[in-house]
């Protein structure tokens, strides 16, 4: 048997049960890899319940900085009896199977291409610790210790992390560190050299951080000055609001009074949540909500109101696998169409597509500027993978000189200075955007009536067809302004002659870049474009038109971004080849490589075979 061998390039999967405290232990491991200077990417794959069901935590270690999911598993830490069989069978040839050897491995676990590594976790734990309630937690730490030894990791990095964690409670730190030691020394003593996967200290990490997208999003809202939140709990968006609440306590408490410079309203449902956002934005506060697919569906009527009455609103859609309740704890990018055209009638909404926590931060902050400048809802399209998993990436950055762009809002002095009659829906400078006022601004001037019904330039109710059309055409013009203000796509024209292009967006990004790099290394010329916003600027359309064949990679069945491109860009459909990965797991680079290969082969391009250079063989 050829054992997998690799330094800083492999995938470990922890197979556990939820509610057993394993998540924090697994995180301890991932964080330790990171702190050894090696890029790492953990993916938590958890069920839609609270306790007792299978949960996996997949950690990719990759020196080269490929932190998308890779696909395939090189090593399993099999703690969950329920899934042991499937975890065992799923290992790649040459892989490692770490299990609790307090009970013998069942008879029929006899693959000869897998290295089984037993650690008697339960026995060690029970012998060492008397506190019955603490044991499950400490058992988790024991396997982390063992794993550290198997992978040649620096013990002190892990111990340090634990110490930091339990800073406030050294009494808890102590048994944890002991558990770590117990696991570490058992593995060192009994399995020295058994495992040829290694984590070795590196300097690749630089100033990178490990952060979940939802925290970054919450920070974006804090930094951008959001003060009103209307929300309703739903996985995977809830943690944005929780984080916003924590940060608000930290950074938004009034010094003198201890009161909060923010109002976080847990609404009765999503309709109310977006209503609160619209009411608050209308009244001059920066407001947002975060939700997921079902919430978007419920917000649809209100989004139409905000579009038509031209009220800013920021909405974060942390997408999960649909349709309907679908797989609520799995990821997908399948709300694009619904968000782009939410609500009946001729409506359209700008979308932003962050690809990592840094962009979650930036784009959320930008969304407030855009929404207020454009006086329309702006939707940030995150997803479960991006939002809930920790991501290795660049640190967040805030320009000290940045000023909030509050858009065209007239204050009392400006109203007094107006020469001509003011009209709420009168476009005076040709960008389709009119000026608004906040209630209470001026005793006599700038008052207007907001409604979802048709009205004239002066906000008077009107059923006149021409007035209606004039207004709708202005909104169409505004849509052109939208394009000018949105972030540009990231286009990489590595080869001006290339006839192939690849398009992707959001959390697909790292896996896509990895697959593209592989194509490059096989000599295939291909350019890439990461879309960052809808509607599309001319550059986006030009990219597609500049290539004979453009692969559009997305995590949905129906090719929703492709649809938007064809529609809004009037692009030739035949040229846009959909590549879909939508099983609810974060897209894997190996899957993409295969899918691209196949798609190319179908079109007569056969790639030279090269061995994949990552750990694993498939």
């Amino acid at each position: 048997m050829k054992q997998l061998e690799s330094v800083n390039d492999f995938v470990v999967r922890f197979a556990t049960v939820n509610g057993s405290g394993s998540a924090s232990a697994n995180n301890l491991f991932a964080k330790a890899v990171f702190r050894m200077g090696v890029p790492v990417s953990p993916k938590n794959i958890f069920p839609s319940n609270i306790q007792g069901l299978p949960t996996w935590y997949e950690v990719r270690v990759n020196e080269r900085g490929h932190v998308g999911r890779r696909g395939d598993v090189d090593m399993v830490v099999a703690i969950n009896g329920q899934t042991m069989r499937q975890d065992y069978d799923g290992l790649v040839p040459g892989g490692y199977f770490v299990y609790d050897s307090s009970r013998p491995l069942p008879e029929d676990f006899r693959r000869d291409d897998v290295t089984a590594i037993g650690v008697p976790l339960t026995t060690i734990c029970n012998e060492a610790f008397d506190n019955v309630r603490m044991r499950p937690l400490l058992k988790n730490i024991i396997y982390v210790g063992a794993l550290a030894a198997l992978l040649d990791m620096e013990f002190e990095v892990l111990a340090d992390s634990l110490r930091k964690q339990f800073r406030k409670n050294p009494a808890l730190a102590e048994p944890n560190i002991r558990a770590l030691e117990l696991g570490f020394s058992y593995a060192r003593d009994h399995h020295a050299g058994a495992c040829k996967l290694t984590v070795r200290r590196s300097d690749r990490v630089g100033d990178a951080v490990m952060m979940d997208g939802n925290s970054a999003t919450a920070l974006g809202a804090i930094f951008a000055g959001a003060t009103v939140v209307g929300w309703y709990p739903i996985t995977p968006s809830t943690s944005i609001i929780e984080a916003f609440g924590r940060f608000a306590e930290q950074f938004r408490t009034e010094d003198n009074t201890g009161r909060l410079k923010a109002a976080i309203v847990q609404a009765e449902d999503e309709l109310a949540a977006i209503g609160i956002v619209i009411g608050a934005s209308w009244n001059g506060a920066r407001a947002f909500t975060a939700t997921s697919g079902p919430g978007i569906s419920l917000m649809s009527e209100f989004l139409g109101l905000a579009y038509f009455a031209e009220i800013p609103a920021v909405l974060i859609d942390v997408q999960r696998a649909g349709p309907s309740t679908g797989m609520p704890t799995r990821t997908q990018q399948s709300d694009l169409l619904t968000c782009a055209y939410a609500s009946h009638g001729d409506t359209k909404h700008p979308l932003l597509f962050p690809c990592d926590p840094r962009e979650c931060f930036e784009m959320t902050a930008d969304a407030f500027d855009l929404a207020e400048r454009l006086q329309t809802p702006v939707i940030v399209m995150s997803d479960l993978d991006l939002g809930m998993n920790d991501h290795y990436g660049p640190p967040l950055a805030w320009d000290e000189n940045r000023q909030y762009d509050r858009g065209k809002v007239l204050n009392a002095a400006q109203l007094d200075a107006l020469a001509a009659r003011w009209g709420r829906y009168r476009d005076t400078d040709g960008d389709g955007i009119c000026s608004r006022t906040y209630p209470g601004t001026h005793p006599d001037k700038g008052v207007y009536f907001t409604r979802g019904t048709s009205r004239d330039e002066y906000s008077a109710y009107s059923e006149d067809g021409d007035t209606y059309v004039r207004n709708m055409e202005r909104l169409r013009l505004k849509w052109e302004t939208v394009k000018r203000l949105l972030p540009l796509a990231r286009i990489k024209m590595t080869n001006a002659e290339a006839r192939l292009g690849v398009v992707f967006y959001g959390s697909t990004t790292p896996a896509a870049y990895e697959a593209i790099e592989l194509l490059h290394r096989r000599g295939i010329a291909v350019n890439s474009m990461r879309i960052r916003a809808f509607p599309f600027q001319q550059e986006v359309l030009d990219f597609v038109l500049a290539h004979e064949l453009v692969f559009v990679i997305e995590q949905n069945r129906d090719g929703q971004m492709r649809t938007l491109l064809i529609n809004e860009g009037s692009l030739p459909a035949a040229r846009l080849v959909p590549i879909a990965s939508y099983d609810g797991l974060p897209v894997a680079s190996r899957f993409l490589t295969r899918a691209l290969e196949e798609a190319l082969a179908e079109r007569g391009v056969i790639l030279p075979k090269t061995a994949p250079d990552q750990g694993g063989t498939r």
């Binding site: 000055g225 410079k261 609160i276 009411g279 506060a285 209630p439 209470g440 907001t450 979802g452």
Partner: protein
């Protein structure tokens, strides 16, 4: 509706304490049916705001969808208004109030808008004791969509088309008291003497003030046992199979003394009995308030006036511990932690 508004009305009225004239509180010309109770309520709102000498531009008026919800266009023309979507005014009002606690929020809704599609939002706005005055113009039907029963229609009542309503009638005041509103009252659109002071009290109360105003729909709330003239309209409708004739009506008024029962004959000759009770000490006791309501109901009498008042209830801002300064007045300096903080956060994520 009135096509032509007299150019000078109430010339006798002097300016109020804040120097505003009554017409500073008026709005656009109503497009409701002649005689609609909603118009009377609009007048009462104008009067109340005038008497309270509120600066018009500090009032925010909001509504859902329906004849009643259109009415904010017909009062307080100097106030910002927001005519939102059907049944969802409470969430819009919640957001607006969160953004700026210094303005006065006046919500107007219909019984369909509140008790059907808006029931969830209504209950939860009450529950968080949002600081606003919430008026339901209650006509027991859906006016704007031509007369279907609403959830406040009396059980056993007969509608336009003769069918009998066999569903329980929802008493919004009772719900509001039960769910924690700080101020709850009921009145009749035609009783200006009672209504104006109630609106003033509601506007002055901090927390959720709820007023259910019985407001007859002259057009749809009719039953087949109606006056001769009414018959005639019905027969026309039946014969032509269209519902296209709305006869002009006068608003119904009802002014009566405390502690008396007033019989009011509606446009269709149906009768309701209103009872005005003198302020009783027990209105600050929730259970007593509900008992009062139910006692009168059992006697076939609709109790009007202040039904419940709790001057000390905590409003949404109290509950959420938001700062006293309006959130919409805070600036970058108040809100943005700045890049050094971000640096520290980055560091904590390494």
């Amino acid at each position: 509706m009135t096509f032509f508004r007299p150019a000078f009305r109430h010339p006798e009225l002097p300016p109020n304490a804040a120097g505003y004239l009554r017409q500073d509180y008026e709005g656009g010309i109503s497009t409701l049916c002649a005689g609609c109770g909603h118009d009377s309520i609009c007048n009462a709102i104008v009067q109340a705001c005038f008497e309270l000498a509120l600066p018009p531009h500090r009032i925010v008026k909001m509504s859902g969808i329906g004849c009643s919800s259109k009415s904010p266009a017909y009062f307080l023309g100097k106030s910002h208004g927001f005519n939102s979507v059907h049944g969802r005014m409470p969430s819009i009002a919640t957001g607006a109030n969160m953004a700026n606690r210094d303005l006065i929020y006046l919500g107007v809704s219909g019984d369909g808008d509140t008790a059907s599609i808006g029931m969830g939002q209504f209950i939860h706005a009450v529950r968080r004791n949002l600081d606003m005055l919430y008026i339901v113009m209650n006509n027991g039907c859906y006016g704007l969509t031509k007369g279907q029963y609403s959830a406040t229609a009396d059980k056993g009542s007969k509608g336009k088309k003769g069918g009998v309503n066999e569903l329980e009638s929802i008493d919004l005041c009772e719900l509001a008291i039960q769910l924690g509103a700080g101020f709850v009252a009921r009145s009749f659109s035609g009783d200006k003497q009672q209504l104006v002071p109630l609106i003033k009290a509601g506007l002055s109360h901090r927390g959720m003030s709820f007023i259910d105003v019985i407001s007859p729909c002259v057009t749809f709330n009719n039953n087949p046992e109606s006056t001769k003239s009414y018959h005639w309209v019905r027969e026309h409708s039946e014969a032509t199979n269209t519902f296209d004739l709305v006869p002009f009506r006068r608003p119904i008024t009802a002014e009566y003394a405390d502690e008396t029962v007033q019989e009011v004959v509606l446009h269709d000759n149906s009768v309701i009995h209103l009872h005005k009770h003198r302020d009783a000490p027990d209105i600050t006791d929730r259970r007593q308030a509900i008992d009062n309501l139910e006692d009168h109901k059992a006697q076939g009498v609709i109790l009007t006036g202040v039904l419940y008042a709790n001057p000390d209830s905590a409003d949404t801002h109290d509950i959420l511990h938001t700062c006293e300064r309006p959130l919409n007045s805070l600036t970058e300096a108040d809100l943005c932690p700045g890049s050094p903080v971000l640096e520290a956060i980055n560091a904590a994520h390494r």
